[in-house]
């Protein structure tokens, strides 16, 4: 039994099938791992009483690639593209967190122009990530139209990424010490065009959903979590803010150039799926505000800081985290003075947030599980790493 046992059998409460099926109304079923509403290969074991959820257990790891072990066998520079493959819908954020962590470990800073470029691209990526969340989340709940709208508009952001660095999704946009590429001719115009183009589109999404009766029925008072529970469970990002805790690392412990911009932290009150929807919609508008200030105030100057060709941080440890679209994304790096990290730990927001699924869905219906997985905005590439 200790040998190679099937995870399914060890996790399920099926030793007494008679009891499960006959004596009570409890039923244990599998959702996933291959299920369109789990946003990847997530398996959730549901314990049901009729349609009511009594408890869940997440089985994860199907996408585990051993990113942290890979890091120990690569140089700091070589590992940079790997971080894009964790939260692949917000690759720019991952890269920003990693580059800043290594910079901090080396005690260098990116020049101001690089920081501004980083902010613009990261905020664009936040919008792209929220768009993908909105499209798929609405699709899960049964609204198909928003998916087409959000993917249509996300294309504009991906085009900017493509023109900037040649890649659309796994961008590898930043380097340790700054940026590899100067902005292309017309970059600012493209970004400004997007700033004009996008606000009416958010209005369009909101027109489809915000007061839509089906949407309200499916999201109001669904998956409620309190601010105190969020903190106890380590849940961060829009989920925490929708529960009324006004906390955003961009304000609390500013990194890159965020201290120079004026923006607000939208919060919710009820901590339900609808509030999380409102918070993310408001965040997209705030991101536009940040981008506007950044693109108008972008300074001239070098885009690479004074870093050596061979990245060799001194012996020491560092933890650095950023506000990724999903929450606090942290990197804990231990350097032994060589060109490869001795230990690199990624603190993934999706992994920690997913832990809250169980308490959020207890007592709800099976169909609501789909809504809650969507509203947590997890990316399995990051959960499993």
């Amino acid at each position: 039994m200790n040998d190679v046992s099937n995870r399914a059998l060890s996790n399920l409460d099926l030793e007494t099938p008679d009891k499960t099926y006959l004596d009570s109304n409890e039923l244990v079923i599998n959702m996933g791992p291959q299920h369109p509403a789990t946003h990847g290969v997530l398996r959730v074991i549901l314990k049901l009483d009729g349609e009511k959820v009594l408890g869940t257990e997440c089985v994860i790891g199907y996408l585990h690639r051993g990113v942290e072990k890979i890091a120990e066998n690569r140089t700091y520079t070589m590992f940079n593209p790997y971080v894009d493959r964790m939260d692949y819908v917000a690759a720019v954020s991952n890269g920003l967190g990693y580059c800043e962590a290594v910079e901090k470990l080396m005690n260098v800073e990116a020049p101001p122009r690089a920081k501004y470029i980083r902010v613009i691209l990261t905020e664009l990526n936040r919008i792209a990530s929220h768009q993908l969340w909105l499209g798929t989340h609405a699709l899960d709940i049964g609204a198909m139209t928003p998916l087409f709208y959000t993917f249509r508009d996300r294309e504009e952001i991906l085009k900017i990424f493509e023109r900037y660095c040649g890649a659309r999704l796994t961008t590898h946009a930043f380097r340790i010490g700054g940026c590899q590429y100067e902005t292309y001719a017309g970059f600012e115009k493209d970004v400004k065009n997007f700033l004009a183009f996008f606000p009416p589109k958010i209005d369009e999404y909101e027109a489809l959903l915000t007061t839509n009766r089906i949407w309200l029925e499916r999201t109001k008072n669904v998956g409620v979590i309190s601010g105190a529970d969020c903190i106890a469970l380590g849940v961060t990002g829009p989920v925490l803010r929708a529960s009324g805790v006004q906390w955003d690392l961009r304000k609390a412990q500013p990194y890159a150039a965020y201290s120079e911009f004026d923006f607000e932290i939208p919060i919710g009150t009820n901590g339900d799926t609808y509030d999380r929807y409102l918070v993310r919609m408001a965040e997209m508008r705030q991101s536009l505000r940040i981008i506007e200030q950044a693109v108008n105030g972008i300074p001239e100057g070098p885009i690479m800081g004074k870093v050596p060709k061979v990245i060799k941080p001194p012996v020491g440890e560092i933890y650095h985290s950023i506000e990724a679209p999903k929450g606090e994304l942290g990197y804990f790096i231990v350097s032994d003075g060589s060109t490869q990290p001795y230990r690199l730990r990624v603190r993934p927001p999706s992994f920690v947030n997913l832990q809250a699924l169980d308490i959020m869905v207890r007592g709800l219906l099976v169909a609501d599980v789909v809504a809650v997985i969507g509203t947590l905005d997890i990316v399995l590439g990051e959960v499993d790493r």
Binding site: G316, F332, R343
Partner: protein, 217 residues
């Protein structure tokens, strides 16, 4: 929320936050003159210019030092504060940090493996306090095979984090409600993030049995 009410009057400003401001110019200034010499003697002059951990002083540290004496060391490196704590003090320190010092958010629990040391593992808790807007790390060393008290009762988020540490390093957490592998299959052999775990032959047996192929490489 209670967090917001408290935040306008932050208790003792984070000492660590001030230090980097005072320190940062120093390494930068010393790095600049070192640059011209670099081509002649690459790498060698750059090393001593690196920052070193300095003792971390704050009321919090004083309090704990008088309480626990030599079992506890407090340092600051690059503006980040950390405690190095004797293993026996871990449950006390963690609980006090949450209950009395408002470190209400356990950001991460992780470990690092040093196979040549007698106590092979570093276990690290990364904590954050919403009211104080301050981070602290707690670090301890344990030997292979030794266990460590679980902190699930202090921060529920520790559940999955400790499972991952167990999964990757084989460190046992006493009192964990459900300590089992989380990312790897239950039948997996070995603990991949240990330094002595080879990356090339690790899954041969597993793929032979489960997938019926010779090797996963």
């Amino acid at each position: 929320m209670a967090e917001e009410v408290k935040s306008p009057a932050p208790p003792p400003p984070p000492e660590g936050e001030k230090k980097p401001a005072a320190e940062k110019p120093a390494p930068a200034a010393s790095a600049a003159p070192a640059k011209p010499a670099a081509p002649a003697k690459p790498a060698a002059p750059a090393k001593p210019a690196g920052p070193v951990p300095v003792p971390w002083t704050s009321p919090l540290v004083e309090k704990y030092r008088s309480q626990y004496g030599s079992g506890l060391e407090a340092q600051t490196y690059l503006g980040q504060n950390y405690f190095t704590v004797d293993r026996s003090l871990i449950p006390d320190i963690l609980r006090l940090l949450r209950d009395e010092e408002q470190f209400d958010y356990c950001v991460d629990i992780t470990a690092a493996h040093y196979p040549k040391r007698e106590k092979q593992f570093d276990v690290v808790w990364i904590l954050y306090s919403f009211p104080r807007n301050e981070r602290v790390r707690v670090k301890t060393q344990i030997a292979d095979g030794a266990s460590i008290p679980s902190s699930v009762s202090i921060w529920p988020t520790a559940n999955w984090l400790e499972r991952e540490v167990y999964d990757m390093f084989g460190i046992q957490f006493d009192g964990h409600p459900d300590l089992k592998r989380i990312l790897l299959p239950d039948g997996w052999k070995g603990y991949p993030l240990r330094k002595d775990y080879g990356i090339l032959q690790q899954d041969k047996e597993w793929v032979q049995i489960n997938l019926g192929i010779e090797s996963g490489q």
